[in-house]
């Protein structure tokens, strides 16, 4: 495990970096450029601020499907709190603001699997949903496994977190220490890096798409109504 886990982590990072680099290179290739001439009166800063709100509250999903929206929003928020809480494993010393987020992160960890189950239920129960994305359900399954193993480590089978921190910090410095002897940790760790390998790149592209959509909407309003 001393060699297997770090090797898996480094391999996952390499795949992730390759996937992102490939996408950036593809984006640099096209010779066609969209006409982004400004419309008189268009306020880019205001449009950007509105699109930040669109992204933060998932407003487009709210308009499309409110039942799904509540599950997705809670999932994203709780996942974010859990990620923030995990920063204590890779930062030394741990900043005060991360320490103060611990209760929120713990609460997020309890909420996370239930939000995922809710999302799964809504997607399966939606009779009008004729399109089944295998990838979506696969990702939901991995996230559920990660969140459940994380919750179990928090509640029932607590591994040595000092050893976890030592291992995690060593991983970033390319001098990984001994991982804790906990099959639950091994499973959690492997699933996290497996998620990194399969990470949907729409999480990086979607905010830009939302931004463009907001610019189009604001621009069209100006064009048609002058305000």
């Amino acid at each position: 495990m001393r060699i297997l886990l770090p090797s898996f982590a480094y391999g996952a990072y390499a795949v992730f970096i390759y996937r992102i680099s490939w996408r950036i290179l593809i984006l640099l290739r096209p010779s066609i450029q969209c006409d982004r001439n400004g419309i008189s009166g268009f306020q880019p800063t205001l449009s950007l601020a509105k699109s930040m709100v669109d992204i933060l509250i998932l407003s487009r999903l709210f308009r499309a499907n409110r039942r799904l929206w509540i599950g997705e929003w809670i999932f994203h928020l709780s996942f974010f709190m859990v990620i923030l809480r995990h920063l204590r494993y890779v930062l030394n010393p741990v900043p005060e603001w991360i320490s103060s987020l611990q209760p929120a992160g713990i609460f997020g960890g309890y909420v996370l699997p239930f939000s995922l189950l809710y999302i799964l239920t809504v997607k399966i129960a939606n009779e009008k949903e004729k399109y089944i994305s295998i990838l979506n359900f696969f990702l939901l399954g991995i996230l559920l496994l990660i969140s459940i193993t994380g919750l179990l480590m928090r509640t029932i089978m607590r591994p040595d977190i000092v050893q976890i921190k030592h291992f995690a910090i060593g991983l970033f410095g390319f001098a990984p220490g001994l991982p804790p002897e906990s099959w639950l940790f091994y499973l959690h760790f492997i699933m996290v890096f497996f998620l990194l390998v399969c990470l949907p790149t729409h999480i990086f592209a979607a905010p830009f798409s939302v931004l463009y959509a907001r610019e189009r909407k604001d621009g069209l309003k100006l064009l048609m109504h002058g305000k």
């Binding site: 096209p30 399109y131 729409h202 830009f208």
Partner: protein
């Protein structure tokens, strides 16, 4: 054009980002009018995007870079063409899209790519460029009859005015009560307006744009702008 050539040349960086942004959530299916009638997920927006991304990966991915791009199965391309052309390009999917993909501009670009590869357009759409070049409209109707059947006798068109009225081919040849109403209203409110002569008011090019036949589009638009 070979079937192994890249698909990214027909798309802008923004559109490529939008392809990546698709979360495959399927919310667009609830609003797609074609889905309502056909019930075929194979021609749904997320499926079209998913297949296109596979085509791109086939020509640009790691395997393609190491061993050269493989040719895409002809049958797959034909099915994809059919899926792209069965769409009405109403844009409802883009309005519903949870990440705001501008599908109404994406689908015509895919049609353009399929035309370049010789898989589109479908059926009589292929006649459009010749018909438009010959008659100035996609309906193959005499240019001289563009206005005369419907223009109200008591409404006057002036040489120069602040308002220019462009009737359009579909309105002038196929939706005449609508344009007749426009002219009557302009005449009734006493607003002076000008129009191009029927031989000079040519197609705006939209039928060519929407069917992916962009070859003569640039020249057509230039000619229309010069007339205006």
């Amino acid at each position: 054009m070979e079937n192994r050539d890249s698909f990214i040349n027909c798309l802008s960086p923004q559109q490529l980002l939008e392809l990546d942004a698709c979360t495959q959530c399927g919310e667009c299916l609830d609003i797609c009018p074609v889905q309502e009638v056909t019930g075929k997920p194979a021609i749904s927006p997320p499926e079209k995007i998913r297949i296109l991304k596979e085509f791109i990966r086939g020509a640009e991915g790691l395997k393609a870079r190491l061993f050269g791009p493989g040719a895409i199965d002809r049958k797959l391309l034909e099915e994809f063409t059919k899926a792209v052309y069965e769409c009405t390009v109403c844009g409802a999917c883009g309005q519903q899209c949870t990440v705001g993909i501008f599908t109404q501009r994406l689908w015509p670009m895919l049609r353009k790519e399929m035309v370049k590869r010789g898989f589109g357009p479908l059926g009589v759409q292929a006649n459009l460029p010749k018909v438009i070049e010959r008659t100035g409209n996609p309906y193959d109707k005499p240019p001289g009859e563009r206005f005369s059947p419907w223009f109200p006798e008591n409404v006057r068109v002036v040489e120069r005015a602040d308002i220019g009225y462009y009737a359009g081919c579909t309105s002038a040849y196929e939706a005449q009560p609508m344009v007749r109403g426009d002219a009557i209203v302009l005449g009734a409110i006493g607003e002076a307006f000008m129009m191009l002569p029927p031989e000079e008011e040519i197609c705006c090019g939209f039928p060519l744009f929407i069917t992916g036949q962009h070859d003569i589009l640039g020249d057509l638009i230039k000619e229309a702008c010069e007339c205006l």
